[in-house]
């Protein structure tokens, strides 16, 4: 008797919010996401257009780097999202692993290609920026190396998913990799403070006020929001497709 009471108490204390359980129902998810996607996709595309034109044509040139600095408008949003999407991927992977909510695992899985694409873009634009400014495409400093490890984590996560006959086991194994890889995120962020690196310190993601002129900062924030909205829309669209595919297979256990 007392044991049942204790277990109900525990059950109450660690319950996820109700909306998360509701969200885990494929039919509810399908309807909800169908309504959300246009609100992410359309503002995302509009802001991307505005941000690109504003940043590339109207923002002033930098006092030191001239027009070369404009690659910041792709480099910073993709770099920030490469880490942000990883956190989203790890958290949903954790929820999928612990609570066995399949939809969470599905969202996690669909974060990976988008995050990997952002990481690749951040590395590529960084190299293009590094050559004219620093004098080299690549250097093995702590920031660049940890960001490269992030790309490998994404690729490893995707590969691990496919490495098992049973998708459920693949998803669990990959979730553990994603969770262990979380340690890399603070390393990427603080690498420029903890060690001597060629990469400069943080411009906007710090406690101080951003060390960039407002006329250059605004288009950057627009681009950041645009990339975030488009990434979210992309992840949700992929997940919805997966849910629909699954519902088309009647012999599936769901």
């Amino acid at each position: 008797m007392s044991q049942t009471a204790a277990s109900t108490r525990r059950r109450k204390r660690f319950k996820l919010p109700l909306w998360m359980y509701k969200l885990a129902s494929p039919a509810y998810f399908d309807r909800l996401v169908g309504r959300i996607i246009p609100w992410l996709l359309i503002p995302g595309l509009v802001l991307l257009g505005i941000g690109l034109v504003w940043g590339l044509a109207f923002a002033p040139a930098d006092y030191q780097q001239g027009d070369s600095f404009r690659i910041i408008y792709v480099h910073v949003p993709t770099a920030a999202l490469s880490m942000g999407i990883y956190m989203a991927m790890a958290i949903t992977a954790g929820i999928g692993l612990i609570w066995r909510i399949r939809l969470a695992a599905l969202v996690s899985r669909n974060c990976a290609p988008i995050g990997a694409a952002c990481t690749f873009l951040a590395l590529a634009t960084g190299a293009l920026w590094g050559k004219p400014m620093w004098g080299t495409w690549w250097v093995w400093d702590a920031r660049l190396t940890s960001e490269l490890i992030l790309l490998f984590l994404y690729l490893g996560y995707m590969a691990l998913h496919e490495a098992f006959e049973d998708p459920e086991i693949g998803s669990r194994a990959a979730a553990i990799l994603a969770l262990v890889g979380v340690i890399n995120i603070p390393i990427i962020h603080y690498s420029v403070e903890w060690w001597h690196t060629l990469h400069q310190g943080a411009t906007i993601f710090k406690l101080d006020k951003p060390s960039i002129a407002p006329s250059m900062l605004w288009p950057l924030l627009v681009m950041l929001l645009a990339f975030a909205l488009l990434s979210a829309a992309n992840v949700l669209m992929r997940t919805r497709n997966n849910v629909l595919e699954r519902r088309l297979q009647p012999d599936d256990d769901e």
Partner: protein, 147 residues
């Protein structure tokens, strides 16, 4: 939360904690190797090895740059808060190279703390502003000429 989920949560959290500790200890042990370059103070204190290629980073001391008129040979001082060392280099310097700029030189260390560089990279800081603003800042505060 059911006991099974509770156990899983506990396992996941201890896994993340354990790997975090392992990585933290490893990076702590390797902290000098993770640094891309030595600061001039470290070189003068004898922390940098003489027998292999190293990187040294610092600010180019204003007025210390001397260029050869005939060749690409250039030499200059780099400094941090409390140390100055001389760098010689033959080649094309990055566009950002100028007095007061942060640079990273890769080369071998001579006996008198003189670096014979094979490569010179420029660093830039995290501040971005239009040229007019930089001009205005320079005019108003003379303390701002550190970069």
């Amino acid at each position: 939360m059911t006991p099974v989920r509770r156990r899983r949560l506990f396992m996941v959290m201890s896994l993340v904690l354990a790997s975090g500790t392992a990585v933290a200890l490893t990076t702590y042990a390797l902290r000098q190797n993770i640094n891309l370059f030595f600061a001039p103070t470290q070189v003068i204190a004898g922390e940098a090895p003489f027998d292999r290629v190293i990187r040294v980073g610092g600010l180019v001391v204003p007025g210390s740059i001397s260029r050869d008129q005939e060749t690409l040979q250039v030499s200059f001082d780099i400094a941090d808060n409390s140390g100055v060392i001389r760098v010689s280099y033959s080649g094309i310097l990055p566009d950002l190279f100028r007095e007061g700029q942060g640079i990273v030189a890769r080369g071998t260390l001579g006996p008198d703390h003189h670096i014979q560089a094979q490569e010179v990279l420029a660093r830039h800081d995290e501040e971005y502003m239009p040229p007019e603003v930089a001009e205005a800042l320079k005019r108003t505060s003379m303390t701002h000429d550190s970069y």
